[in-house]
Symmetry: C2
């Protein structure tokens, strides 16, 4: 297997790491994933975690590694300074920072910064997904959900403007740490759950009123209108609806390229379509892998 | 001192208890406060906590006790079932639930429920503050900040409509449990702090965009535009501004009676005035005490 291996591609998030061993034509030869995200590695070191996952896929020391995400944050493994908007996606591979003492060729793709005093913003990881999915010279709007959802405007192959909604993290902290924790039961739901759809439509129609609708989740249960099983779909629908409603100006005149996977893809797609958007779905994990592969091909031709 | 004591008034919150020994004319003879709120007493019992605070103020077994707040919640000391909107404030004293086995005359004032499927809501405690500040037959709008901020419409002396903003609790969970915890330093600030005022004005102008502005707090610090000392004022200003902006339809045509104390009073007053509201400030603690005293006078004439 290692005979045909070309490089390893690593998506290094805050709490997770995903590594793929790729051939010259982009075929996935092996993969490894785990909980050795940035937060973990700040304690235990980045290089041991990387070598562990490389060993898992059988990559010897000749295999170079292309990384995106939080390993390049300021106090993480090695800072990969942001490219500023407008940031041409084609500049990302050449701007990757090489880690000199890694024992092999290891590079980290930089994030992107929007240095506007009235709309400051940063991303790490999404720029590589965009490199994987956006065509050269493309102009398009991308919605990239996750713990933090990025809405990114790409013009002529460059990131020109973006905003961040902390929707996933708000769901997490509200459902775990607020009084609503009593009203939200864990476990999955589908995007056709009545409480999801009702709250989502309300958030879309009036994003500003989501703030006062939060407590109604609890009141509805105290008064017997809803049950604890409706809590997670309600809260999720309300927050995603408010995000999609608030972002409406962005997609009024153009298709939304939704970069997502699994349940998150399904519920964002539902919300976007209810809000009147035309949606093109792209798989988030493939996007990251394709972006890393593209960067590797540019750096190691 | 006990010779002239008439009753004890107790504001029993989720996390705090405040008790006043009052004379027939409403004079405060003594007071006691502590952390024996509902959450504490669910573990240790309500009656022992009450008797401890009564002993602190020297109230013998002949002194009756009027209570408002969370002691009357469903799984707390004894449920005081909600009055439904429209709820005449004058009906509150007579609806107080007597605890038969308390060894003295102890009553809990009920909360108020808004039984509307599309806008369910409940309050416990604020109804008693309104009894303390609203005049008979008054029609007015009240803004009552706290962990949860209630906006209450009173017409002809009855609570007819209300909504709840979890602003205080959102500040708490976001600043403690989200990624923004790294960007928010504890400690006070005043309502003229530049970051407070800037974020507040933004929230007022566009409540729906507060959702995407949250992350800018972190980005502004990463990019060097702001420091960690700006975090708490920014987050507080953004959330309060979004609340005040979202509630604008309520106060466009009428004065806002702000029932609050201390820093909370100052920052809500600033936000309301920036949003164009005319504000009349009423002290929140006095409101609760006056409401309990009014109820005691009605029940024990």
């Amino acid at each position: 297997m290692t005979a045909e291996a070309f490089c390893a591609a690593v998506d290094w998030g805050t709490s997770r790491i995903r590594l793929w061993l790729l051939s010259r034509d982009g075929t996935v030869l092996a993969e490894s994933r785990g909980d050795e995200g940035m937060l973990h590695c700040l304690q235990t070191g980045f290089q041991p975690a990387l070598e562990m996952h490389l060993a898992t896929v059988g990559a010897d020391a000749s295999i170079p590694v292309m990384i995106c995400g939080m390993a390049g944050a300021r106090r993480a493994w090695r800072e990969a300074p942001y490219l500023d908007t407008p940031a041409a996606l084609s500049r990302l591979p050449g701007a990757a920072v090489r880690i000199e003492d890694a024992g092999r060729d290891v590079r980290i793709i930089p994030g992107v910064a929007q240095r506007r005093v009235n709309a400051p913003n940063v991303m790490r990881g999404e720029e590589t997904q965009l490199l994987g999915v956006a065509k050269v010279d493309e102009s398009a709007l991308f919605c990239m959900p996750g713990t933090h959802c990025k809405w990114v405007g790409v013009e002529n192959g460059a990131i020109v403007q973006f905003s961040t909604f902390m929707t996933g993290e708000l769901f997490d902290v509200i459902s775990k740490h607020s009084i609503l924790a009593q009203s939200v039961e864990g476990g999955g739901f589908d995007s056709s759950h009545p409480a999801f759809e009702r709250a989502m439509r309300r958030g879309i129609a009036s994003p500003a009123s989501a703030h006062s609708a939060l407590f109604e989740l609890r009141a509805a249960q105290l008064l017997g209108y809803e049950g604890v099983r409706d809590g997670a779909p309600f809260l999720s629908g309300l927050l995603i609806g408010a995000e999609v409603g608030s972002a409406r100006a962005l997609y009024r005149s153009q298709r939304v390229h939704l970069v997502a996977s699994g349940l998150v893809a399904a519920i964002y797609r539902t919300a976007l379509e209810v809000a009147g958007a035309e949606v093109a779905l792209l798989d988030a994990e493939e996007a990251a892998r394709d972006g890393l592969f593209a960067a590797a091909g540019a750096v190691w031709p």
